[in-house]
C-alpha cells in the first residue's frame, strides 16, 4: 500500500542508489574472500589434478578407490555426523532452557557458553586427555567410589573422541538455536493448543519447523567444524582413527605428496558444502 503511494519517479533512482551502496559495503569482504580464500582453493584444486605428466585423476582414484582411504573418508564423515547429531540432541533442549532462564541465571548460562570459546581448542582437547586417561580424574573418582575396580580405557577410544568433539563444538550448535528460540513467540504454541494440537503435535508441527533455521545453522557450523577437525582426533584418539584432516597433514608434512593432500582437501570441502547446502534447503519457507 505504502509502496504504491510513493511517486514513481522518486522511487526508481533511490533503489539504484541502495543497490550501489550495498555493492560498496560488500566489496571489501568480497576482495578479501576472493584473494585469500577462493584463489587458494582454485590453486588447491589445480594441484590435485595436475602432476608432472599433465592432467590426472590418480589422486582421487587413490583416495576414493582404496579401502584404507575410503575408511579415512568414512571416519571423517562418522566423526562429523555423530558429533553433529549428539550436539544437536544436547543443544536443542539446552537452547530452550537458556531462552526460558531469566536474570542472573541467563547471564551465567550464557557465560558458560561463551567463555570456553576464548580457550584454544588445543587446551580443551588436552584437558580431556587429562580427564580421561587411566589415572585421570574420571577413573580415579569411579575407583574411589567403588563403582569400578580397574581403570576403564577411555582415552584414545572413539567415545573419548566424540565426547571431546561434542564438548568443544557445542556452543556453535546452542547459540544459533538459542537465537531463534529466544525470539519465538509463545503465542504460536498457545494458538496450536487451542486449535486442538497436543503438546507433542504442537512440537512436531509448529515448534520444530519454526526453529528449523536455527537448527540448520547449528548443524552446518558443527558439521563443517567437526568433519574437518584436526586437533581433536589427533589428541583424543591418535593414529588409529585417521581422518581426512589428519591424512591431509600427513600428506603435506610427512609423505610430501601435495597432490594427494590437495585431493583430500577438495573431497573434505565437497562433503562440507554438500551437507551445508542440503540442510539450508530444508529450512526454506514454503511458496
Amino acid at each position: 500500500m505504502t509502496e504504491a503511494a510513493l511517486p514513481a519517479p522518486l522511487a526508481a533512482p533511490s533503489v539504484d542508489r541502495e543497490r550501489l551502496a550495498a555493492i560498496g559495503f560488500v566489496l571489501p569482504s568480497f576482495v578479501i574472500i576472493a584473494g585469500v580464500f577462493a584463489l587458494p582453493l582454485v590453486l588447491l584444486l589445480g594441484v590435485s589434478i595436475v602432476d608432472a605428466n599433465g592432467l590426472t585423476l590418480a589422486n582421487y582414484k587413490r583416495l576414493l578407490g582404496t579401502p584404507y582411504y575410503l575408511g579415512v573418508v568414512w571416519n571423517s564423515l562418522r566423526l562429523g555426523l555423530l558429533t553433529t547429531l549428539i550436539a544437536f540432541l544436547i543443544s536443542y533442549p539446552a537452547a530452550f532452557a537458556l531462552a526460558r532462564a531469566r536474570g542472573p541465571l541467563r547471564s551465567v548460562l550464557l557465560a558458560t557458553l561463551f567463555l570456553p570459546l576464548a580457550a584454544s581448542v588445543i587446551v580443551k582437547a588436552f584437558a580431556w586427555t587429562i580427564l580421561l586417561r587411566s589415572d585421570g580424574i574420571v577413573n580415579e573418582t569411579l575407583m574411589a567410589l567403588g563403582i569400578i575396580e580397574d581403570p576403564i580405557r577411555m582415552i584414545f577410544t572413539e567415545t573419548a573422541l566424540i565426547v571431546g568433539a561434542v564438548n568443544i563444538f557445542l556452543p556453535f550448535m546452542i547459540l544459533p538455536i538459542y537465537a531463534i528460540v529466544a525470539q519465538l513467540d509463545s503465542r504460536y504454541a498457545e494458538a496450536a493448543a487451542t486449535l486442538g494440537a497436543s503438546p507433542l503435535v504442537t512440537f512436531v508441527r509448529v515448534i520444530l519447523p519454526l526453529t528449523l533455521p536455527g537448527i540448520v545453522a547449528g548443524v552446518a557450523l558443527v558439521f563443517s567444524l567437526s568433519v574437518s577437525a584436526y586437533v581433536v582426533p589427533t589428541l583424543l584418539i591418535g593414529e588409529k582413527y585417521p581422518t581426512l584432516a589428519t591424512a591431509i597433514a600427513k600428506a603435506y608434512l610427512l609423505a610430501r605428496e601435495p597432490g594427494f593432500g590437495a585431493a583430500a582437501g577438495v573431497v573434505l570441502l565437497a562433503i562440507a558444502i554438500a551437507v551445508v547446502t542440503l540442510s539450508a534447503r530444508l529450512s526454506r519457507e514454503p511458496k
Partner: protein
C-alpha cells in the same frame, strides 16, 4: 435474549500471580450465541479471565463449564475453543490455507472435509483468492481475517478474541467491528471479546462486563451500562460524564439530597446522611436553561468543542468543579467561551456513587 441454557459458566474463579490478585472470585454466565465483551483497563484481569476460559491459564480456585462440561482441569487442546490473538499468532511456516486447515488436521479430519471447511472459512472472511499465500505477504487486516477463519474452521464451542482488533488502524477497526459482529451472528457463534476500547465493546456485544481490579463491576447490555452505570468506575470507563463531589444531607426512597460546593442536588442512590459521594450525570442530559424536576448549576464556559453531530461544552462551575454538557445541533444556540450559562439536568438521570470507589 432467549432463555437458552447457560453455555459458558465461570464460577468463583480466582487467580493470583505472586502477591497480586488478578482475578477475584469471578462469576460469569454466557448463553449460547451471545456476544460478550470483557471491558477494562490494562491489568484489570480481562485477558487472564479469557486465558482461564481457553485453558491457557489455570485458575487457583473456581470452575469453568463449557457446553455443559466441566473443563476446569481440561488442557486447552481438548476444550474446543477458538482463540484470536492480538498478534494473530499465524504460523509463518504455513500458507493461509495451511493455517486454517491446522486445527482440523491435528484433529485427524478427512482430507475432503478439511478442504471443504477451509474453503468455507475463507469465503466467510472473503479471502478465497489468497488461500495459497504466505502469511508474511498479507496486510494486517488480511492476517486478522485469516486468524478469525482459522479459529472458526474448527467450529469451536466459544470464540475468544484477545484485543483482536487493536492492531488495526482506526478506520479498518471500525469496519471490522460491524462486519465481525454480523459474521458471528450469521454463524451463531458464542464469543467473548477482550478489549479496553469502549466503542468496540458497545458496538460488538450483546452484554458488556466492565472489569476492574480482578472483579466484574457491572455486567449489562451496552445501553443499560451507559444509562445506568453501577459504579463510578463503570461510569468513568464508558462514555463521558459530569462529576461533582459532595456530602449526603438527607436520604430516603432510593434518593439522596447532596450538598456540594456548587449547589444542592438530588440524585438516585442509597446512602446514609453524611456519606461522601460523587454526583454524576451523562453530558447529553445537561441542557441550557431550566427544566422541571431538575438539578441546576451555573458557570462560565471554559471550552467549546465542535464534533460534528454534537458539541461538547465544558463549564467552570467554580470551586474546582466543572460541568460537561453535550449539545446536539437541534439545541438551538451554542454558547461561546466566557459566556455565563445555567445548565439543568433531570433528577432521574443523576446518580450518586460512593466517593472511595473512585478508580
Amino acid at each position: 435474549m432467549s432463555e437458552a441454557a447457560p453455555h459458558l459458566v465461570v464460577r468463583g474463579v480466582s487467580k493470583k500471580y505472586g502477591p497480586t490478585t488478578v482475578l477475584d472470585h469471578i462469576d460469569l454466565t454466557i448463553r449460547r450465541g451471545e456476544l460478550v465483551t470483557l471491558l477494562g483497563p490494562s491489568g484489570c484481569g480481562k485477558t487472564t479471565l479469557l486465558r482461564a476460559i481457553a485453558g491457557l491459564a489455570q485458575p487457583d480456585t473456581g470452575k469453568v463449564e463449557l457446553a455443559g462440561r466441566d473443563v476446569t482441569h481440561v488442557p486447552p487442546h481438548k476444550r474446543n475453543v477458538g482463540v484470536v490473538f492480538q498478534s494473530y499468532a499465524l504460523f509463518p511456516h504455513l500458507t493461509v490455507a495451511g493455517n486454517i486447515a491446522f486445527g482440523l488436521k491435528v484433529r485427524g479430519a478427512a482430507r475432503r472435509e478439511i478442504d471443504a471447511a477451509v474453503e468455507r472459512a475463507l469465503s466467510l472472511v472473503k479471502l478465497g483468492h489468497l488461500a495459497g499465500r504466505r502469511i508474511s505477504a498479507l496486510s494486517g487486516g488480511q492476517q486478522q481475517r485469516v486468524a478469525l477463519a482459522r479459529a472458526i474452521a474448527v467450529e469451536p464451542d466459544v470464540l475468544l478474541f484477545d484485543e483482536a482488533l487493536s492492531a488495526l488502524d482506526r478506520k479498518l477497526r471500525e469496519e471490522m467491528q460491524v462486519e465481525l459482529r454480523r459474521l458471528l451472528q450469521d454463524v451463531k457463534a458464542t464469543a467473548i471479546f477482550v478489549t479496553h476500547d469502549q466503542d468496540e465493546a458497545l458496538t460488538m456485544s450483546d452484554r458488556v462486563a466492565v472489569m476492574n481490579k480482578g472483579r466484574i463491576e457491572q455486567l449489562a447490555e451496552p445501553r443499560e451500562l451507559y444509562l445506568r452505570p453501577a459504579s463510578l468506575f463503570a461510569l468513568n470507563f464508558v462514555g463521558l460524564s459530569t462529576r461533582i463531589a459532595g456530602t449526603v444531607l438527607a436520604a430516603g426512597n432510593g434518593k439522596v439530597e447532596v450538598e456540594t460546593k456548587v449547589g444542592r442536588f438530588s440524585a438516585l442512590g442509597n446512602f446514609q446522611a453524611g456519606s461522601p459521594v460523587i454526583v454524576a450525570a451523562r453530558p447529553e442530559q445537561l441542557r441550557i436553561g431550566e427544566q422541571s424536576e431538575a438539578n441546576t448549576a451555573a458557570g462560565r464556559v471554559r471550552s467549546v468543542v465542535f464534533q460534528g453531530s454534537r458539541t461538547l461544552v465544558d463549564v467552570d462551575a467554580g470551586a474546582g468543579e466543572s460541568l460537561l454538557a453535550e449539545l446536539s445541533g437541534r439545541d438551538g444556540k451554542i454558547p461561546i467561551v466566557h459566556d455565563e450559562i445555567r445548565l439543568s439536568w433531570p433528577v432521574t438521570e443523576t446518580f450518586a456513587f460512593p466517593m472511595e470507589a473512585q478508580a
